[in-house]
């Protein structure tokens, strides 16, 4: 199951409509948390919001997570060791108050298992290709933080 996540605050029609469009070509079914009670699709199953335990179960069951570029889902995908594909929200399209999701995506683009897409074509290409889980390899930034903390303990 491809788990699509809009987050708990703002709907994200560009991502959900893209998933609706490409659903017939995808290798897996889609479940979407849309934050949008008005969203309609006969191709993907969806709910506006999920209770925390339901959300955890979906994360656990997912083969890949597709989401906005929020820090919460980055941490969740890393904790659950799932591949993550993010589409940053754009202020110019009224998807968020500013472009900080572009900055978030840019900052974490080095992470294994994270793919960044900006439109439906890129989303389709990434989902059709090979994906690796997040969080399985250590990264230099966390090693630096561990060293800094160890220095405080000494």
């Amino acid at each position: 199951m491809i788990f699509a996540v809009a987050g708990s605050q703002l709907k994200f029609p560009r991502l959900m409509d893209a998933l609706h469009e490409i659903a017939p070509e995808l290798p897996d079914t889609v479940f979407a948390q849309t934050a949008d009670p008005k969203f309609a699709s006969d191709r993907i199953t969806h709910a506006p919001f999920l209770a925390p335990d339901q959300f955890e179960r979906k994360l656990e069951a997912a083969s890949v997570i597709v989401a906005h570029a929020g820090i919460g889902i980055l941490i969740a995908a890393s904790n659950h060791r799932k591949p993550l594909v993010v589409m940053p929200r754009r202020a110019a399209l009224s998807e968020h108050r500013n472009d900080h999701q572009l900055a978030t995506a840019g900052r974490f683009r080095h992470l294994p298992g994270l793919s960044i897409v900006h439109d439906q074509q890129e989303l389709m290409r990434v989902l059709a290709g090979p994906l690796v889980p997040m969080g399985e390899r250590s990264n230099p930034l966390s090693d630096q933080l561990f060293s800094a903390i160890q220095a405080e303990l000494a």
Binding site: I71, I75, L111, Q150
Partner: protein
Amino acid sequence: MMRLRPAFAENKVVFACTMRDAGAPYGLADTIILPDANRDSGFGIWRLFVETRRLVSTEAPTTVISTGALPGLLAIFWGRLRGARCIWVESIANGEKLSGCGSVARYLAHRCFVQWPELADGKRTIYAGAVL
């Protein structure tokens, strides 16, 4: 906190948490449970104040490290009074401004790590990497 565990692999560590069973998936059956409270909790804060004092007195840690929220901040308060080295690690979720507790912790703890370079002033708040 579990993401920081490799940093104290060489140390004896007592974990405390507000959520029962939170430690179980990590093999931490003996995690100490604290009552949860935040700045809006009223009387719950006093209970937490007493419980964190008892915890820090009983365990007598040489270091208190917290990744956030009021229970950790109060543990740092008591740890500081007892002469422990106190470390605050601000959540990576806070990239635009410090949390309320983080704003206090940067004065209360000996060291306050932030996980976004933009939040570091190089003195009270230090950027030295991130868990992601």
